[in-house]
């Protein structure tokens, strides 16, 4: 097993005077898909931004191969870690091929603006993301799903071992969500790329992650294989939601079904307790 490349040590993150993450230690497993989940404002995107050096830690550090990120030249980091922000803004009036080729920026020199290697990588990135036929279109004119694929293509063209994705499925319909996540899995499988993604959907997270990190209020509540981590107890602790966890009928991964049925006011509340009990029993098979 190869050593983990990306880690955080005593990481404290803050915006102005609000501390979001306090003294967090973390290892990102090498060659795996890691997914961070948690309720809104739990600090998961903030953590991802710090891992991609978009946010300077208040104290502690993010380590790449044991070296603090702040000690590594930005360009060198960009050759090791690719990052797709939540809402990237494309240059106005740029074509798809041009945008994807910008991913080569960290590898290029001013006298080496378009090498054969560049071309090979860009063609491949576009074919993998099925954006090759969009090459000459303007990014402004694309649909949300197409645009997201183009951004991923750009991140692929960057050819980094580690890829950080901040909610890559927002704005996408369910088919495109699956498409994007399948692509992520495939990249990990074929290239052994380490992927860290923040996802909103707990079920997608459980299905696509090798390693799941559940966060609440800036702390890591649980981490490990989704099958071990996702339980009704955890969902209640992290999201404050009663639920039933059953095996996913397709993959067998844990599937969270919000567990307290909506009730007419005034009805006897005995049902809630019953659902809770069902929850306890139902996740037994997954363990």
């Amino acid at each position: 097993m190869t050593a983990n490349r990306l880690a955080a040590k005593g990481l404290t993150l803050a915006y102005e005077d609000r501390t979001v993450v306090d003294g967090l230690d973390l290892e990102i497993p090498h060659g795996k898909v890691t997914v961070i989940v948690g309720p809104n404002a739990c600090g998961k995107s903030t953590l991802l931004r710090a891992l991609g050096r978009l946010l300077k830690p208040r104290s502690g550090a993010v380590l790449l191969d044991g070296t603090e990120l702040s000690r590594i030249p930005s360009r060198q980091i960009a050759r090791a870690i690719g990052l797709l922000p939540q809402t990237p803004v494309p240059p106005e009036g740029i074509t798809v091929a041009d945008l994807v080729s910008r991913g080569r920026q960290p590898h290029q020199k001013w006298w080496q603006q378009w090498s054969d290697a560049d071309e090979k990588v860009i063609v491949e990135a576009m074919e993998r993301t099925a954006t090759a036929e969009l090459a000459e279109r303007l990014v402004d004119e694309l649909s949300g799903g197409q645009r997201q694929r183009v951004w991923i293509a750009m991140a692929l063209a960057q050819e980094t071992d580690v890829l950080l994705l901040d909610e890559p499925t927002t704005y996408l319909d369910i088919a495109h969500q699956v498409e994007v996540l399948d692509l992520v899995r495939q990249l990990n499988l074929e290239r052994g790329r380490t992927v860290v993604a923040v996802l909103h959907d707990l079920n997608q997270a459980a299905r696509y992650a090798d390693h799941l990190i559940a966060m609440k209020a800036g702390r890591i509540v649980a981490q490990g294989a989704p099958g071990d981590v996702v339980t009704a107890d955890l969902v209640r602790e992290v999201f404050g939601l009663a639920s039933v966890v059953v095996p996913d009928p397709v993959t067998g991964d844990p599937l969270v079904v919000p567990g307290a049925p909506w009730q007419r006011p005034g009805q006897p509340s005995g049902d809630t307790a019953a659902t809770g009990a069902v929850g306890e029993t139902a996740d037994a098979p997954t363990e």
């Binding site: 931004r49 991609g52 050096r53 978009l54 930005s74 360009r75 060198q76 980091i77 960009a78 050759r79 870690i81 690719g82 990052l83 797709l84 922000p85 809402t87 990237p88 803004v89 494309p90 240059p91 106005e92 009036g93 740029i94 074509t95 091929a97 041009d98 994807v100 080729s101 910008r102 991913g103 920026q105 960290p106 020199k109 001013w110 006298w111 080496q112 603006q113 378009w114 090498s115 071309e119 090979k120 860009i122 063609v123 491949e124 576009m126 074919e127 090759a132 090459a135 000459e136 991140a155 960057q158």
Partner: protein, 352 residues
């Protein structure tokens, strides 16, 4: 992978030279060539027209350094002013492109970040206190422009240079300095007001190699920095996060572009007064012509030079023998064209 298929972004060509490969934007090259040709034509026309008309053939002879009977009129009387105009226009065009890229705001210009008003306030103050010699004033205005921009930096710097903060504080300081200028104008002597008004509009009248020399030196010294900027600008068209993820040092580039823009604009203002609409208009026109995803630096400079030369030609000739300040006509030449481009082109330039 389909062999032999090229994915070069639309509109680009690849050039191999020695060990390097370069990407060239074909349309930009065409636009740059066309602008150069137009500029050359404008230069010849500029040298032909004046109190007496000189045949274009004679002008070309003088330009090529051959003996000609019109050498005095063309080479000694008209040439110095033309050279100043060319350099001023190019410097303002480039400064505008840099500042708009840095601020990510198409409304940004040296006017917005304090340079013009700093220079204006310093110059008018100097005039009010009796300094009127054309050898001293340019230095006063360069100093004023740089000082104002420095003030904006100091106030806007807070763990880095945030673009919108920089622009807002720039406007604030510009407005304050502009008000000071107004105060000098209304409280001051009528003659000083008239003279200051002309300076504040920007004029090439009486400008020559004395003013052109510092500007030329500055442009020459800054050439390596400008080459760097032309390439660095590409990365600034992303948002900060995406750019950082690509390994672009956003903060450093922003600081570099701003400094470069401020220096160019200050020196140009020193030479001809605040002809600053050029800096606002030229980059926007150039970008609409080249249709690139970033503001083209070279084309902006060429466009700026073209606008100033044509405007000064009109300024000398339109109401002759009365000479208008060139600043009156730069906007009159550039603005309608930009408005026409906005109206007809579907593409918009620059994000707000």
């Amino acid at each position: 992978m389909s062999a032999g298929r090229t994915v070069l972004p639309a509109g680009y060509s690849r050039l191999r030279a020695g060990g390097g490969t370069f990407l060239l934007h074909r349309r930009s090259i065409c636009v740059a060539t066309a602008l150069s040709v137009l500029l050359a034509a404008a230069v010849v026309a500029y040298l032909c027209v004046g109190e007496s008309f000189v045949a274009p053939a004679e002008v070309v002879r003088v330009l090529l350094g051959r003996p000609s009977p019109d050498e005095f009129v063309v080479g000694t009387l008209r040439m110095p002013r033309l050279v100043t105009g060319l350099l001023v226009g190019a410097a303002f065009g480039a400064a505008g492109a840099l500042i708009q890229t840095m601020a990510r705001n198409p409304l940004a210009s040296p006017d917005v970040i304090g340079v013009s008003h700093g220079a204006g306030a310093a110059t008018v103050a100097a005039m009010t206190f009796g300094i009127t010699s054309y050898t001293a004033l340019p230095y006063v205005s360069v100093a004023g422009g740089l000082a104002a921009a420095l003030l904006v930096y100091v106030f806007a710097w807070r763990k880095g240079l945030d673009a919108s903060r920089f622009v807002l504080i720039g406007i604030g300081i510009s407005v304050a300095l502009g008000s000071l200028t107004q105060l000098f104008l209304t409280k001051g002597d009528y003659l000083v007001a008239q003279q200051a008004k002309v300076w504040l509009t920007g004029t090439l009248n009486g400008r020559g190699y004395d003013q052109a020399a510092p500007l030329a030196t500055a442009l020459l010294l800054l050439t390596p920095a400008l080459l760097w900027a032309a390439r660095a600008q590409r990365g600034m068209s992303f948002d900060d996060d995406t750019a950082t993820a690509l390994g672009i040092r956003v903060g450093r580039i922003r600081l570099g572009l701003a400094t470069l823009g401020v220096v160019l604009a200050s020196v140009a203002t020193g030479a001809a007064g605040p002809v600053d609409f050029v800096a606002l208009l030229a980059p926007q026109i150039a970008r609409r012509l080249t249709r690139t995803a970033h503001t083209p630096l070279l084309c902006s400079a060429l466009m700026g030079a073209l606008i100033v030369v044509v405007a000064d030609l009109l300024a000398r000739k339109l109401l002759s023998p009365i000479e208008l300040p060139v600043g009156v006509l730069t906007a009159a030449v550039g603005a309608p064209y930009l408005m026409w481009l906005i109206r007809t082109r579907s593409r918009t330039g620059g994000t707000a």
